[in-house]
């Protein structure tokens, strides 16, 4: 993982999210309040615009700037969660040394763990954590493998299955609610955007 890797991934993700924005917007209007896609798009735009400011910085500093930009520029749940993700990654030790696949996995795993703590959501509650937590577990299995590309194909598959699995979930944990029933039948918009991000980054790593 390097600063140039982060910038190029942000650009690829931005393209994919823009292509799928109408679908995510509709999902959020069905079961949420419709702000998710605008928040994600605004965040990606802000990060891509950081290119000149961060391209020559050490990784830790660049991650920190991304975190602060995401945290202060997005708002809503997404801003707090993704801001927490990048802030946690920026705090990883030994970022001045080469960040190999193993180290990158560990950073992502700790970032997702911090998101879970911030959002207090677990698997099965129809949120982006339904995609991110299983992906994090898979990365934990994969991180020590020398040949990790086949594993990343599995990550892509897990993310897609878990994204689709949010469709039949109740909106929130345990307690039955009128709205919970009504939210059934729609994929969670945060799960969909997270899956698209994972899909884009994994494919790019596999093809390089």
């Amino acid at each position: 993982m390097s600063v140039s890797f982060l910038i190029s991934q942000a650009k690829s993700v931005q393209k994919v999210i823009d292509e799928n924005s109408a679908e995510i917007e509709v999902l959020d209007q069905k079961i949420g309040d419709g702000d998710h896609i605008f928040n994600i798009q605004r965040g990606l735009k802000l990060v891509v615009e950081l290119e000149d400011a961060i391209k020559d910085l050490p990784l830790a500093k660049a991650l920190n700037m991304i975190a602060m930009k995401v945290l202060s520029g997005i708002g809503g749940s997404s801003g707090a969660l993704f801001g927490t993700f990048f802030m946690t990654m920026a705090k990883s030790s030994d970022l001045d040394k080469d960040v190999d696949f193993n180290k990158a996995c560990e950073m992502i795993i700790s970032g997702i763990k911090a998101m879970k703590e911030r959002g207090k959501a677990d698997v099965g509650e129809k949120t982006m954590m339904d995609v991110l937590l299983p992906v994090s577990e898979k990365l934990n299995e994969l991180k020590n493998e020398s040949e990790f590309k086949p594993g990343l194909n599995e990550v892509i598959k897990i993310a897609e299955e878990r994204m689709l699995s949010t469709k039949d979930m109740l909106a929130t944990k345990g307690r039955a609610s009128f709205l919970g029933e009504r939210a059934k039948g729609h994929i969670d918009p945060g799960a969909r955007s997270s899956q698209l991000i994972i899909d884009t980054i994994c494919k790019s790593v596999i093809n390089n």
Partner: protein
């Protein structure tokens, strides 16, 4: 979409700037880490109250900054929680040494961002979470009940206590009591249109209403055919009374809140219906509030809030207030 708008990116900034100019006698608007604060500095030793949330609910919360209510408000983008740096900047600006009480509506985005703001602020602070909406136990993007119109009552009543030298602990305690004593439920006849989306948040037939709607147009209990006002009001009150179980002859505040697109004529009709129904059940209405205070952009509809009052709540409700959206006694 038909709105007064120049371009979407500047929508909030232009509106906030106008708000600042229109009420320059009582508030200031800061745009870099945006927050609204009182024109006069918080007096030494007074607890500072800060609220905030997505924009689109005006006059909540900026319209409640001023003497007897909030010290600052942090507006997010339309229907999106504000960011932690806004809360931090607002707290640093208004805290006079007695601490900061954050008043947060129970939505996951607001909770997370206020939590982070509170962690980033080094001064003494605490928070209260409002969750007065009896329509749903779990909504699509909160854990538990949503915080809606009773937040206005919390801000007014705790604002008075803070003005009367209440400590941070006392302010928090009173806020929690008001929240616990209040129940709200709303109905929508039409959707609202978020400027960035450019089209209505939900489709609803000409003869339909969303019963138990949230303040972002998110779904409520059920979609129904429209009915006479007395029936709608009766159903709303039934849900609230089921939840609050007020004692006969207990004193209550009845708050009819417009969602933004319903004229006052209709809100007063709703108030009359509600008074008659409550009276028939032996429930006393002691105080009233009718108007657009916690809105959902241009949505047509209304919510009803009932607040069970004791002497302490009534005293602080009647105390003088001078904000852009609420003013009496001074």
């Amino acid at each position: 979409m038909k709105k007064f708008i120049n371009n979407n990116d500047d929508f909030l900034k232009e509106s906030l700037t106008g708000f600042g100019k229109a009420h320059s006698d009582i508030i200031n608007v800061n745009l870099d880490a945006s927050f609204v604060s009182r024109k006069n500095k918080t007096k030494d030793g007074k607890v500072s109250l800060i609220s905030g949330g997505g924009s689109g609910h005006e006059p909540m919360h900026g319209g409640f900054v001023g003497h007897g209510m909030l010290d600052a408000a942090c507006p997010g983008f339309v229907f999106s929680a504000p960011t932690p740096d806004q809360m931090q900047a607002a707290a640093e600006h208004v805290d006079s040494g007695a601490g900061v009480l954050f008043i947060v509506k129970n939505y996951s985005g607001d909770i997370m961002n206020f939590e982070m703001g509170a962690e980033m602020y080094s001064g003494k602070n605490d928070s209260i979470i409002t969750n007065d909406d009896v329509a749903v136990e779990d909504s699509t993007f909160t854990t538990g009940r949503r915080g809606v119109a009773a937040t206005v009552l919390v801000e007014k009543i705790v604002g008075s206590l803070a003005e009367h030298s209440g400590s941070l602990e006392e302010c928090k305690k009173l806020g929690e009591k008001v929240n616990k004593n209040a129940g709200t439920m709303g109905v929508a006849f039409t959707s609202c249109t978020v400027p960035a989306a450019g089209k209505p948040t939900f489709d609803i037939g000409d003869d339909e209403m969303e019963f138990g709607v949230g303040i972002h147009g998110e779904p409520g209990r059920k979609r129904e055919k429209i009915q006479p006002s007395k029936t709608i009001v009766g159903n709303i009150l039934e849900a609230i009374l089921d939840n609050l179980k007020p004692e006969k002859n207990e004193r209550n505040l009845l708050f009819v809140n417009g969602m933004g697109g319903t004229p006052l004529t209709e809100l007063y009709l709703v108030y009359e219906d509600a008074c008659q129904i409550l009276q028939s059940k032996g429930i006393e209405v002691t105080k009233s509030l009718v108007g657009n205070y916690c809105t959902s952009l241009e949505m047509q509809g209304a919510s009803i809030t009932l607040l069970k009052c004791d002497d302490e709540i009534l005293k602080h409700w009647d105390a003088p207030v001078h904000t852009a959206a609420m003013r009496w006694g001074m």
